[in-house]
């Protein structure tokens, strides 16, 4: 019986040893991620979500109509800016397809927000 425990104990040590040394025998040395900064840029989804919550606050009578309109306008402007940026990126990638889109960005923002709000309300979670 002692032999069984001896073998089991040795297997335990070998397994741990394997977990620890196996990376040194892997093919290539991957560069660790380093001190990469996290992406703290604002996304359109976040703006839509903020507008959604703002609208809920207004409908729940927690903020005044004036504040609601003012904040909503600010969010719309922000969304327009983000849409513009997005279009610029697309234009750089596909110059022909993006022609004319930039000037429409501001007009599209409000329609886009409304669409996204509807989507947000209907989605789960």
């Amino acid at each position: 019986m002692d032999y069984v425990f001896l073998i089991a104990g040795s297997l335990m040590i070998i397994t741990c040893f394997y977990f620890i040394i196996s990376p040194f025998f892997s093919a290539s040395e991957e560069q660790p991620a380093g001190k990469a900064e996290t992406d703290e840029r604002l996304t359109l989804e976040q703006v839509y979500s903020a507008v959604n919550e703002l609208e809920m606050d207004f409908l729940m009578k927690k903020i005044t109509h004036e504040d609601f309109e003012k904040l909503k306008e600010q969010y719309q402007l922000l969304a327009a800016e983000l849409l513009k940026e997005e279009t610029k990126h697309k234009k750089l990638k596909h110059p022909h397809a993006a022609v004319g889109k930039t000037k429409k960005a501001a007009d599209e923002a409000e329609a886009e927000i409304l669409r996204e709000l509807k989507k947000l309300r209907n989605q789960k979670g």
């Binding site: 425990f5 977990f19 380093g34």
Partner: protein, 660 residues
């Protein structure tokens, strides 16, 4: 078995030490191979701690009394479930359980989808420092696989107080909560070391913190339930030092869970948040120190001064290390943090809530430690009992309940005082109506009435929040009530999960206030055939019988109970005389309905026809357990969903910071 168990313990020390070194080398040389090897060390630790835990369960289950731990906490006749749960009955087993959970959590963290995150080697190293500590203490002082000099014929058996279903779950849930807090602590420190002042660490550990808080809640509620059933004094919370030790981190983590929302949304309170998580983690070590050291008298303490010293040294080390990291990064945190913009705002109400929770933690800490402090300075140990805690904590918890009723009514964006006052009207009316009804019903005790009215106000706020939310959604989407309610809660699980938790707290508050203020008690000696009357209950004592079960002598009193003149059956309080334990244990008999508990204890007897009973009627105690269950459901609901909070406009920062 002895060999495998000991190999696991010593290997634990070596591997955790290696893992820390591998991570340090990996970070210095920027070598993924070394970092990968460090990850392998974590996996090995999870592997060996699982084997050691399985071995301990096996030797406990098969009653191998050649092991000191098995002989000290079990005996042949102990039911299998208690043989297995003796795992955490003593110091050595508890330390192994802690190391096992910590290694498992560490493996889950380092092999998560964030495994390439630059913070991970630091997080892994901090967790391994903890694991190293536990394995070292086991190797040096409390080895669960230590052998006896002579194999005893039978073990000493398990403390009868621990032979209760509550004790199967209470320690494990508390440990899971304690251990869980090591994860956000490690991330917080890692973020500071890397000078990452954003909210990433908070977002990555939100679920870990919530999970730890859920287990702490569960552990505290089950602990109260166990005390109520097993200790036989009629209460559920005695402000015992060890109870306080598990309540302290619960208070600080509750504060943390609220204040992180401010950092996520408004980029504020960064120093506060990191300090809170450090404090919570240190308090988990402090709690364990209290349990292990035996420096304070408690029904829960294991009492081993040696282990206490280990914990004290480790706690001091971790505290100094954390303080050093925070102090050296303080300037950076301050520079990157936004100040509070308005006195009347969501963030200031959350800050106030935090201050109250921390004040509560301080009051509990002071009362718990006062006997030691007084002994150090005056030479006499002044014991601080329940009256101090009740007196100090009652106004603090009342303020907290009132604030819980106010906070949800304040908007995140552009809070307007007039709107808030308008929204407060209905909940306030609910509180006032409650007070009038209570006075009209002849309920006395001004403090209790104020407490119950404040709770009603708080409950009213939350019900109104649900109602207004549903109505707002219906206005926007034209959905029916049920669909709107479902979608509303599912779309913001974090907020509504929190509201469910608050509703659970309201139920607990009703239970605590009512049972403290309106409990009645009778201690009476009766002869067979005579009755005891208490409130609307009448108890007729029939006989005292004796039988044996699993080698233990059991004395049972047979009592017929009537409520409002109606027969509601029998009640049978017991005293159990354990074969292996010097003192008998009291088995309380309880009859519960929605509003009160009839609580009967068989105190003593002169003959089998002349018996003394302690009978209590405790109002609304079942609400405490129901509230605890609702709190757990609410937390699980918030845990299951809950996307990160969205950013908000800031006057001083524009929109640069986001809450993603």
């Amino acid at each position: 078995m002895y060999l495998i168990g000991n190999i696991a313990i010593y290997l634990g020390v070596v591997i955790s030490l290696y893992g820390i070194i591998a991570n340090i080398i990996g970070m210095k040389r920027k070598s993924s191979k070394w970092l990968e090897s460090g990850r392998g060390a974590v996996l090995s630790l999870a592997f060996i701690s699982s084997i050691a835990s399985f071995m301990l369960l096996y030797i406990l289950g098969t009653s191998q009394f050649q092991y000191k731990y098995v002989a000290s906490y079990t005996n042949e006749s102990l039911p299998m479930v208690y043989k297995l749960t003796a795992f955490w009955a003593g110091n050595a087993g508890s330390l192994l359980l802690w190391a096992f959970l910590l290694a498992l959590y560490a493996a889950m963290v380092v092999f998560s989808k964030e495994k390439k995150n630059p913070m991970m080697p630091y997080v892994s190293s901090i967790l391994m420092v903890n694991i190293l500590f536990f394995f070292t203490v086991m190797a040096l002082n409390a080895n669960p696989f230590e052998m006896t000099d002579r194999i005893p014929a039978d073990g000493k058996g398990l403390n009868p107080m621990l032979q209760n279903p509550g004790m199967i779950l209470h320690p494990v849930t508390l440990y899971m909560g304690y251990v869980g807090l090591a994860v956000p602590f490690a991330f917080g420190i890692a973020a500071l070391i890397l000078k990452k002042m954003d909210s990433e660490w908070i977002k990555l550990t939100r679920r870990w913190t919530l999970l730890a808080w859920l287990f702490l809640t569960l552990g505290n509620v089950i602990g109260g339930w166990w005390a109520y059933l097993e200790l036989g004094w009629g209460g559920y919370w005695a402000w015992d030092p060890v109870e306080n030790a598990s309540f302290l981190p619960w208070l600080t983590v509750s504060a943390f869970l609220h204040s992180v929302m401010i950092q996520e949304r408004k980029n504020m309170l960064k120093t506060w948040n990191v300090s809170l998580i450090i404090l919570s983690y240190i308090l988990t070590l402090f709690g364990t120190f209290l349990v292990r050291s035996g420096i304070l008298t408690s029904v829960h303490a294991f009492g081993d001064s040696n282990l206490g010293t280990y914990f004290l040294v480790f706690m001091a080390f971790m505290m100094l290390f954390s303080l050093y990291i925070v102090m050296t990064r303080y300037g950076l945190i301050k520079k990157d943090s936004s100040p509070i913009e308005a006195y009347f705002s969501k963030e200031s109400s959350f800050l106030l809530n935090n201050l109250i929770l921390v004040a509560a933690a301080f009051a509990v800490f002071w009362g718990t430690m006062y006997p030691l402090i007084s002994e150090t300075f005056t030479g006499t140990k002044v014991n601080v009992g329940a009256p101090y805690f009740n007196k100090v904590m009652a106004p603090i918890l009342l303020a907290l309940i009132v604030l819980m009723g106010i906070c949800p009514l304040i908007a995140w964006q552009k809070a307007v005082f007039e709107k808030f006052m308008k929204n407060t009207l209905w909940p306030l009316a609910m509180g006032v109506v409650t007070a009038i009804i209570l006075f009209a019903a002849g309920i006395d005790g001004i403090y209790a009435v104020v407490g119950l009215s404040a709770t009603s106000f708080m409950l009213g706020t939350h019900l109104l929040e649900f109602a207004r939310g549903i109505s707002a959604r219906r206005k926007a989407t034209k959905e029916n009530v049920l669909k709107a309610a479902f979608k509303l809660t599912m779309k913001n699980q974090r907020r509504y999960g929190g509201y469910i938790v608050h509703i659970g707290i309201a139920l607990i508050a009703v239970g605590v206030i009512a049972s403290h203020s309106y409990s009645t008690e009778v201690l009476k000696t009766v002869v067979a055939g005579n009755s005891i009357t208490i409130g609307e209950y009448s108890l007729k004592f029939n006989e005292l019988t004796e039988h044996t079960k699993n080698g233990n002598g059991i004395v049972v009193a047979d009592i017929d109970v009537t409520y409002k003149g109606k027969d509601i059956g029998k009640i049978k309080p017991e005293k159990i005389f354990y074969e292996t334990w010097p003192e008998p244990s009291t088995e309380v008999a309880i009859k519960t309905n929605w509003s009160q508990d009839l609580y009967v204890v068989l105190s003593s007897w002169e003959t089998k026809d002349k018996v003394t009973f302690m009978v209590k009627v405790n109002p609304f105690v079942s609400w405490i357990w129901a509230g605890g269950i609702i709190m757990v459901i609410g937390t699980a609901f918030a845990l299951a969903g809950g996307r990160p909070t969205s950013f908000r406009f800031q006057k001083n920062k524009g929109t640069a910071q986001t809450g993603r």
